[in-house]
């Protein structure tokens, strides 16, 4: 319950944030909503001698829907996402997923940037961002760079972000067609036993484009290119869905924990993907 002592920084701009990061290296961490970091600090699993609160840094929150391109500032909260009418219209899968994350209090504080940068495979947004083929925008001492969500995750809590970089926004094209974020969990606020993000485009009776990503079924989110490919060109009939599920099962690598043994997680993953495909196709 009691975190270790730290020096607290509350800069007004990114230059101030970067100055602390550069000076203190991996002894410094940014604080966004605080709803993964503070719990880890209370358990003394995270040791953060220098905490940099981003709340006063201008330009880090907000959602813009500009034509077909969506940009969400890193400090935008889950509750902001749920309440944003233009986003709900342009990318309704975002709202659907956010409503399955945590609980109301956590959603008022927890941010999209924290969710995707955390690196915990339990987080829901990383798989969703891979499904959407989102771009992450990072700022460091040498300026800005972009990384695809599909290339960002290396292992549990290991990402492509450098110690002196801050993830400042996510951006993606508004998806067309049908969507679904399906999550199997033990109760409200739990990380997924298995979850699937699915986007499907329908052309006549045929699936012309498919993207499938899975949550908490490996030490990173899993974008299963093969699962999507198994649906493209089909009418998403039973055989195609079987093929997509088989392809997805080839790409995941779950571990046993108190959500269940590996075989159960594979069963849950298959079930949840079937549901997500059915719902996305229905909406396509």
């Amino acid at each position: 319950m009691i975190p270790a002592a730290f020096e607290y920084h509350r800069p007004k701009d990114m230059a101030g944030v970067l100055a602390v990061l550069v000076e203190h290296g991996d002894e410094a961490r940014v604080l966004a909503g605080g709803h993964s970091l503070i719990p880890m600090m209370k358990l003394r699993m995270a040791d953060v001698p220098h905490l940099i609160d981003l709340q006063d840094v201008d330009g880090l929150s907000g959602i813009t829907v500009d034509g077909g391109r969506i940009r969400i500032g890193a400090m935008t909260t889950q509750s902001d996402i749920i309440g944003h009418a233009a986003l709900a219209e342009a990318a309704p899968i975002m709202r659907e997923a956010s409503l399955q994350i945590a609980d109301p209090q956590v959603r008022y504080m927890g941010t999209v940037g924290g969710n995707v940068a955390n690196g915990d495979p339990g987080n829901d947004m990383p798989g969703l961002m891979q499904c959407l083929d989102a771009t992450f925008i990072l700022v460091g001492p040498d300026g800005e760079r972009e990384v695809q969500a599909r290339d960002f995750y290396e292992a549990a809590y290991m990402t492509d972000r450098e110690d002196d970089e801050v993830l400042v926004a996510v951006a993606f094209d508004a998806p067309s067609g049908g969507y679904a974020y399906e999550k199997q969990k033990r109760k409200i606020g739990d990380y997924a036993t298995a979850a699937a993000a699915v986007l499907l485009v329908k052309d006549g009776d045929t699936c012309s484009s498919a993207s499938i990503a899975m949550t908490n079924l490996s030490d990173t989110p899993v974008w299963s290119e093969a699962a999507g490919d198994a649906l493209v060109g089909t009418s998403v009939d039973a055989a195609a869905i079987d093929a997509a599920v088989a392809a997805m099962l080839g790409d995941i690598d779950p571990t046993q924990d108190n959500r269940g043994p590996i075989e159960f997680k594979r069963h849950a993953a298959a079930m949840i993907l079937r549901r997500a495909i059915a719902r996305a196709w229905d909406r396509a």
């Binding site: 975190p3 020096e7 607290y8 605080g34 709803h35 709340q55």
Partner: protein
């Protein structure tokens, strides 16, 4: 020990100023420093919501915020919602509909419910259950908490209509 910070915040309408270590959790500030002991601590993993208060218009679990983050904030706790002589509609409804037993989750429940009814003045039962999902109760089985909140919503709507 880290340097103490000068902190200023408004709690239940009163200005507070003090020196505190940045790592002090807001729930401890409220309970131990300001003697506002309605908000409780039921866990150390941010699940139970017994510490829920309203900060700058958001329902927040005050065990998951450092006092440093709340510097400059406006905080409302159960003590700021009503008084024994003049209960808040929700406090009256929890009493009337037996929405509490041991009372440990109640301050967080009612503070969260007050924000929920601001956002959704006439919620369905499902919206109440979902909107209260960040608050755990060991005693009631939730049924009477839902009744209390729905009753308070009806009363607040009726009062609003009467005023118009």
């Amino acid at each position: 020990m880290a340097k103490k910070m000068h902190i200023q915040m408004t709690v239940n309408g009163e200005e507070q100023e003090f020196l505190a270590e940045p790592r002090e959790l807001l729930i401890h500030t409220l309970r131990e420093r300001l003697n506002i002991t309605g908000p409780h601590i039921g866990c150390e993993t941010s699940h139970c919501g017994a510490c829920t208060v309203t900060i700058n218009g958001k329902s927040v679990k005050s065990c998951t915020m450092f006092v440093a983050q709340a510097n400059g904030a406006e905080v409302t706790t159960i003590e700021g919602l009503g008084s024994p002589d003049s209960l808040h509609v929700l406090q009256e409804a929890f009493k009337e509909h037996h929405g509490l037993q041991c009372g440990f989750c109640t301050p967080g429940m009612i503070t969260r419910a007050s924000k929920l009814l601001e956002e959704i003045p006439n919620p369905t039962e499902e919206e109440v259950r979902f909107g209260m999902a960040g608050n755990i109760c060991r005693c009631t089985g939730y049924q009477n908490i839902v009744k209390s909140i729905l009753a308070a919503a009806a009363e607040m709507s009726a009062a609003k209509e009467a005023a118009e």
